[in-house]
């Protein structure tokens, strides 16, 4: 009896494996067809597509993040040492610690000034900055490093991330003075996920068709699309509560474009 059951289950597993593999092959074929179609449409509009561009992707789900002042205070203490806290009203909190001072706002903005020499670069500015931001509990993605033309000092910029997706307009800027970090400014994302909307928004093919519409209407012009990637756009309508809206970032030789995955609108305010 057990042998019969094993045989039946084996056949069932083989059947389901066949179904799964067939689904995968069909899905891959469908993706390739979609990619080919959209490439053709773009070529018709005079836009070439980079070979490495991954044209078929899905967008993340929209989510709401809220500020947790307790977690924020813990993170600030990791950064600045023992801190005193002053509520300035309007959800603006001022922290003063042994290693500097900081202002955290309900809009997500942060300004921190570090005492001279407390955060030294140990050879690599980018790694030093990453360690500093890790203390704040923020996952980040490196954007660039460079030299300020005004004072000749170095800076590094990072973009906040939520579940491996970049939040394109939540950018943190670290300024160096000599070999130590002296200032952190920018916008962070909040700590606590309040809810996630199940709907993920339009996929990359739909976003590219929206891009084609913009090209045809003359609202944007370029000759080459080098890449498309999903991410988030941060908006704070109510102090202490932020919404991460899924967006598509299109990198072209005419500039970078953010297309809202919910309504197809071009988002502004890209940092």
């Amino acid at each position: 009896m057990e042998r019969i059951i094993i045989i039946i289950l084996l056949l069932l597993n083989l059947f389901l494996l066949g179904v799964v593999l067939t689904d995968r092959v069909q899905a891959r074929r469908g993706e390739n067809d979609s990619a080919a179609s959209v490439t053709e449409v773009l070529l018709d509009c005079g836009v070439s597509v980079d070979e490495d561009a991954e044209l078929v992707q899905t967008a993340p789900a929209k989510c709401t993040l809220t500020r947790s002042k307790e977690q924020e205070e813990t993170a600030v203490q990791r950064l600045l040492g023992n801190t005193s806290r002053e509520d300035l009203g309007g959800n603006i909190i001022y922290y003063r610690g042994t290693q500097g001072q900081a202002v955290f706002r309900g809009s997500g903005e942060v300004e921190a000034l570090f005492s001279s020499g407390t955060i030294r670069t140990r050879g690599n500015r980018k790694k030093t900055a990453e360690r500093l931001l890790k203390k704040l509990g923020i996952r980040t993605e490196f954007i660039e490093e460079g030299i300020n033309s005004a004072d000749g000092e170095a800076y590094v910029r990072f973009c906040c991330c939520r579940e491996d997706y970049p939040v394109f307009n939540a950018v943190l800027h670290l300024d160096y003075s000599g070999d130590s970090v002296y200032m952190l400014t920018g916008t962070r994302i909040f700590e606590t996920a309040a809810e996630t909307d199940g709907a993920a928004g339009m996929d990359s093919v739909s976003a590219l068709l929206r891009f084609v519409e913009l090209l045809r209407n003359g609202e944007f012009s370029c000759t080459c699309l080098s890449g498309i990637r999903p991410g988030y756009y941060l908006s704070v309508l109510v102090s202490g509560e932020s919404t991460l809206t899924p967006v598509w970032q299109l990198e072209t030789d005419g500039g970078t474009l953010l297309i809202n995955a919910e309504n197809g609108r071009v988002e502004s305010g890209l940092a």
Binding site: N13, L17, V19, G89, N91, G106, S107, V238, S239, G269
Partner: protein, 425 residues
């Protein structure tokens, strides 16, 4: 024997393993994904149909916080103005809502100022907002996620201006009595300045910039171009049994245990314990619950406004078609320990004026609705538009009588037309 037992154990383990792998493979098939989506879709439909009435006080009534007009005043002296139901009103307000919340929460002690100082702020780097009615500032702050600074409690603002001057963010406002005030805030002046810089002028101007309009409201907003409005049909909505149940839930009545009857004039009456809801054929909803709550609990202004809005949205707001509900006032009665919250309708952002007073009036005590009166309307806006008097002419006529001008739909018949009316400004 041991070998037999081991073989049997091995077979059973294999059966379990094959079952597990079969389930895992099933979960990866398209059939399962479709089934899951269908179940989740049905679940969310059931949840939305059974939404509890007025319990989620933490929800912020974004729609009622909408200003009537929003103007971004750039550093170069240009004005990006938008008024009534244009999408840009909501977009501008949302762009600066977090800054406004910060400003309201961190404002210092208000200082009385002259009208000229308020007008001067409109000429510089600032954002101007005009609301449909004077907004209690603690309510506005609560809706924007902040707690109004003590100095602002009890203050109300019909006009607000958030300005950047000398490296500071300043909050200016005019109250219902026409007095002007200013407070320093801890809002970020740099962020405010950079956001204001995103806008360019669109030809909007203030009344004080037009010599013809001397004597009227100096802060009236005039837009360039032709002024049009849609013709609107106004009817009494007809309620199905399901929709009637939702009305009952909205005011806290249980449709399952309510009894109902119809009076000779067609008025439907629902009774549950001491609560009574009357729905007339003319679209008048009257609810009374004379039972005084025993807990003598306290309710904040924001909680009362939010609970009232949720009930109003589920009743009047659910059936108003092309209309929307706008907050039109709140008052507190110390003797009754109750709040009275009022709402009106708007179509395309243009308020609907009814001669019989506010469209919706809800009285709350200790967290419960004890009385509600609602005029239920369904609005259908036609595609064709009517051309109205240009802004400058309308304001000039009003200024001659030391008044301001505002667009308004007048409710009274089945077809509503939009026209300019004189207001106190």
């Amino acid at each position: 024997m041991n070998e037999e037992k081991l073989r049997s154990l091995g077979r059973r383990s294999l059966i379990v393993l094959l079952l597990v792998t079969a389930v895992l493979l099933l979960c990866r098939t398209e059939y399962y994904a479709g089934l899951r989506e269908s179940i989740e879709g049905r679940r969310s439909q059931r949840l939305s149909a059974a939404a509890p009435a007025g319990t989620a006080v933490s929800e912020r009534p974004a729609g009622t916080v909408q200003p009537m007009a929003a103007v971004v005043n750039t550093e170069s002296g240009g004005h990006f103005g938008t008024i009534y139901g244009e999408e840009d009103v909501a977009a501008v307000f949302q762009r600066f809502s977090a800054d406004l919340g910060e400003a309201l929460g961190s404002a210092g002690t208000p200082a009385g100022i002259a009208e000229e100082q308020f007008v001067a702020a409109l000429s510089d780097c600032s954002v101007f907002l005009r609301f449909y009615c004077p907004q209690p500032m603690e309510l506005l702050a609560a809706w924007l996620g902040a707690e109004a600074n003590g100095g602002l409690v009890g203050c109300s603002a019909e006009l607000l201006c958030l300005s950047v001057a000398q490296g500071k963010a300043l909050l200016y406002w005019r109250d219902a009595d026409g007095n002007y005030f200013c407070s320093e805030t801890a809002a970020s002046s740099e962020r405010l300045r950079s956001r204001i810089a995103e806008y360019n002028g669109n030809g909007a101007r203030y009344a004080y910039e037009e010599p013809l309009l001397n004597g009227g409201d100096s802060c009236g907003v005039l837009l360039a171009g032709v002024r049009t409005a849609r013709t609107v049909r106004c009817t009494v909505p007809q309620y199905s049994d399901n929709e009637t149940d939702q009305l009952l839930h909205a005011v806290g009545m249980n449709s399952f245990i309510s009894s109902s009857y119809t009076e000779t004039d067609g008025t439907r009456v629902f009774v549950s314990g001491d609560s009574t809801l009357r729905l007339s054929t003319a679209g008048v909803l009257l609810y009374r619950n004379p039972t005084f709550p025993d807990d003598n609990g306290t309710m904040t202004l924001a909680d009362a406004a939010t609970a009232a809005w949720q009930a109003a949205e589920r009743c009047a707001g659910a059936c108003c078609g092309d209309g929307t509900l706008i907050f039109s006032g709140i008052s507190f009665s110390e003797s009754q320990n109750s709040y009275t919250v009022r709402f009106d309708y708007a179509v395309d952002g243009i308020p609907v004026h009814a001669s019989s007073g506010s469209a919706v009036e809800i009285v709350l005590r200790s967290g419960r609705i004890i009385q509600a009166r609602m005029r239920l309307f369904q609005f259908s806006a036609a595609e064709e538009t009517v051309t109205l008097l240009p802004d400058l002419q309308a304001f000039a006529i009003a200024a001659a009588e030391h008044a301001s001008a505002q667009l308004c739909y007048s409710a009274g018949g089945e077809t509503m037309n939009c026209d300019w009316v004189k207001t106190d400004g």
